[in-house]
């Protein structure tokens, strides 16, 4: 090597010849980039602190223990008006996660159905599913949220004329009311049994798989597991004399009191988010299933494999490889889209923290930073999950 190089370059190279060295140049570029980034942040932070000090604005986090002093219309975790700003932040996160998780569940179920309907051999079902997707996917989400809020939930009857089901559920323009479970002495035993049953079911599944690998004998571990998980706690529950009572919402004064309730803004938000996201999930499901070539199903059929086994053991594992990554990013979208809650006044993180708290306390920098940190953490967590999944399902070439 050295010889060839010497031949190419005259030994009396000019002093700037190192400029032609690719490694050297790339190191310089990287140093310059890093230095400019550091300088930029240094400038931003310095300038911001100076400006804020000049204008008597505080940038610190000391305000977090100060009492926030405003009411929040819906809180998943306990909150009283005298609680601190830090608590408001937690309330916001809890509310955001609640909306996201419930919407994700609904959207997934709905999306799965619509996605399968898109592939139906029945023309009517197929066309309906397709219109559902096309119309709802192409209408702005914000518009849908507002339409659900004003067009549906705000038009419901007032508390006195509530729609009541089975004497325990009530729906009116102030919210949806349902019974709250009140565990009594002994209920913990039921929960303990449930935990044990789950452990047992998992263990049985592992054992059954090992045995099948070794001997080829099949054990119905799924149905046995399900039976354990549902049956055992039920038996204990009944044996202990049903240690659970319900607090039923009752119309008292202005509205229903007691039980669990969610405000109209929550209902509108969850429905709009679920419906909107379900369109994207439907398309993901459809393309996932279509990605598995027909030949696979036909081959399974010719080997006389049961149809539901074909689905479970052949089509699904391959389709999931296509479905799961975009599905997870839809889940992340739901979490971020939930910040549109502010339009209808649902107290999610953005509404209660970036808006109300920022305005009341004036601490723009720490509040914006904390909000971004939360959304950033959520995104990182999701991409972590995604990478783990992708690594697991990587095609193992043999």
């Amino acid at each position: 090597m050295a010889i060839t190089r010497d031949q190419k370059r005259p030994s009396a190279a000019p002093i700037w010849s190192f400029l032609n060295d690719a490694t050297f140049r790339s190191i310089v570029y990287q140093l310059v980039t890093a230095a400019s980034i550091i300088l930029f942040f240094w400038w931003v932070i310095g300038n911001t602190t100076a400006n804020m000090a000049q204008r008597n604005m505080s940038a610190g986090f000391d305000f977090l223990n100060v009492s926030a002093g405003f009411g929040i219309s819906f809180t998943l975790i306990p909150y009283r008006e005298g609680d601190s700003y830090l608590r408001v932040f937690q309330v916001g996160i809890a509310n955001t996660l609640l909306v996201a998780i419930i919407s994700i569940i609904f959207a997934t179920v709905l999306g799965l159905f619509v996605g399968l309907a898109r592939l139906s051999s029945n023309w009517l079902i197929r066309t309906l599913a397709r219109s559902y997707v096309e119309v709802l996917r192409n209408t702005p989400l914000l518009l849908q949220i507002i339409a659900w809020f004003f067009g549906v939930f705000n038009l419901l009857p007032r508390p006195r004329d509530s729609i009541v089901w089975l004497d325990v559920f009530a729906l009116n323009n102030r919210g949806f009311y349902m019974p709250a479970p009140l565990p009594e002495a002994g209920f913990n035993a039921v929960l303990l049994t449930l935990a044990l049953a789950i452990v047992a079911a998992v263990y049985i599944r592992i054992w059954a798989k090992r045995r099948q690998d070794a001997t080829g004998q099949i054990f119905p571990s799924l149905s046995v597991g399900a039976g354990l998980v549902f049956g055992l706690p039920l038996v204990v529950f009944l044996a202990l004399g049903q240690p659970l009572s319900w607090e039923i919402p009752e119309l008292r004064g202005f509205n229903f009191q007691g039980g669990l309730s969610v405000p109209p803004s929550f209902c509108a938000l969850v429905i709009a988010l679920s419906v909107y996201t379900s369109c994207f999930i439907a398309e993901i499901v459809r393309s996932g299933i279509q990605s598995v070539s027909r030949g696979q199903t036909e081959a399974a059929k010719s080997l006389n494999i049961k149809p539901n086994w074909t689905m479970r053991l052949i089509v699904l594992p391959q389709a999931l490889r296509v479905i799961v990554p975009p599905l997870i990013s839809q889940y992340l979208n739901v979490t971020k889209n939930s910040s549109l809650a502010i339009a209808i006044g649902f107290p999610d993180l953005v509404s209660v923290w970036m808006n109300t708290s920022l305005n009341q306390s004036g601490r723009a920098i720490p509040i914006v930073a904390m909000t971004m940190a939360f959304y950033c953490a959520a995104s990182l967590f999701v991409s972590l999950l995604m990478n783990a999944y992708n690594r697991r399902i990587l095609l193992k070439e043999r």
Partner: protein, 343 residues
């Protein structure tokens, strides 16, 4: 949505980052003069206070404070660009330099004055918080609201007083919140809450625009003090002084009996107080960086405080808030309107 977030964050950051340069380089008054117009922040249209006409012009008792400042600087009350934003972002928007001042039913409080980088330039309306309920609810006192659902604007003193009041009286409530007053009013009219709470003037203003104003009643209790006035950014004392003294000028003119109609005549007055107010004597205007006779233009175009009041929110307007015997009367009539001496 993360795009929205980062834009917001960037806006907040850049607003604060960028500010130093203009502040150090140029005072607000010089900037306004160079730009050729005043940037005045108002809220979402509210009858009587900052009302938007069909022809796109703003009017109201709060708008008139901005118009007076514009008249003082330019000799023309309408060299103004208005920013109409929700209550929740009003201070961020002012801090970012999007507006030179805000005049929009904003309560002067200690935290706002000392921790948010703001300065209050005075009070143009003394108010207090109340509750609006439908007449057919049969409610006649705020103390009957235990367990009620209450509509309240976020980012206001209103939501803080609401929580304090119910807590102090051992009552519970469910807030229905929004930053957009229109959404909230829509919710209230649709029966989504039992009461709407705000400054009493705000209640009267909103109600005047309801399909049937007589179907709603403002409960008698006043649960807070809400001194409302114009606000500027902290750090430019000369600008704060200008806004403060234009407002005092409006109040002083009423005390001295100078009106839009008689201001020309009053230029010949022998009263030394009037002479100083109208710039016939002394150099008060010049000291503030505007013409000595700035109040002459202001009064010709806008009239004195009393005229402003009667024109926009007084008894003969749809809002109909009587002035006599209230805090908004002149000090010699038992009210709190009291201009510091022009000398």
């Amino acid at each position: 949505m993360n795009r929205h977030l980062s834009i917001l964050a960037a806006a907040a950051a850049v607003g604060i980052v960028g500010y130093a340069h203009d502040a150090q380089a140029q005072a607000t008054l010089a900037q306004v003069k160079e730009r050729g117009h005043l940037n005045c922040q108002v809220g979402l249209p509210t009858p009587g206070f900052y009302q938007l006409g069909d022809d796109g012009t703003w009017s109201g008792i709060d708008v008139d404070v901005c118009r007076a400042v514009s008249a003082a600087i330019f000799g023309d009350p309408d060299r103004i660009e208005y920013q109409s934003v929700t209550s929740a972002v009003r201070f961020t928007s002012l801090a970012n330099g999007e507006s030179d001042m805000l005049s929009r039913t904003t309560t002067w409080t200690a935290v706002r004055d000392t921790q948010l980088g703001l300065n209050f330039a005075g009070v143009n309306f003394y108010d207090g918080q109340g509750f609006l309920v439908p007449v057919d609810s049969g409610i006649s006192s705020t103390l009957e609201l235990d367990g009620a659902t209450v509509c309240v604007l976020t980012g206001t003193t209103t939501e803080l007083n609401l929580a304090d009041y119910f807590r102090a009286n051992n009552m519970s409530f469910t807030p229905v919140t929004n930053e957009n007053v229109n959404v909230l009013v829509e919710t209230y009219l649709g029966g989504g809450c039992d009461a709407y709470t705000n400054d009493k003037s705000g209640l009267a203003a909103r109600r005047s625009a309801f399909p049937d104003p007589t179907a709603h009643v403002i409960l008698p209790e006043t649960i807070s003090k809400e001194p409302l006035g114009p606000v500027v950014r902290q750090g430019d004392d000369a600008w704060a002084n200008l806004v403060r003294w234009v407002l005092f000028g409006l109040i002083e003119a009423e005390e001295l009996g100078v009106t839009a109609a008689n201001v020309d005549e009053m230029l010949g007055s022998d009263n030394p107080n009037i002479k100083r107010l109208l710039g016939v004597e002394g150099n008060i205007g010049e000291g503030m960086g505007v013409a000595n006779d700035f109040m002459v233009t202001v009064l010709k175009e806008i009239g004195n405080y009393g005229e402003m009041y009667e024109r926009h929110v007084g008894e003969n307007t749809p809002i109909g808030i009587p002035r006599a015997g209230t805090l908004n009367a002149q000090w010699f009539d038992g009210g709190l309107m009291y201009a510091m001496p022009f000398r």
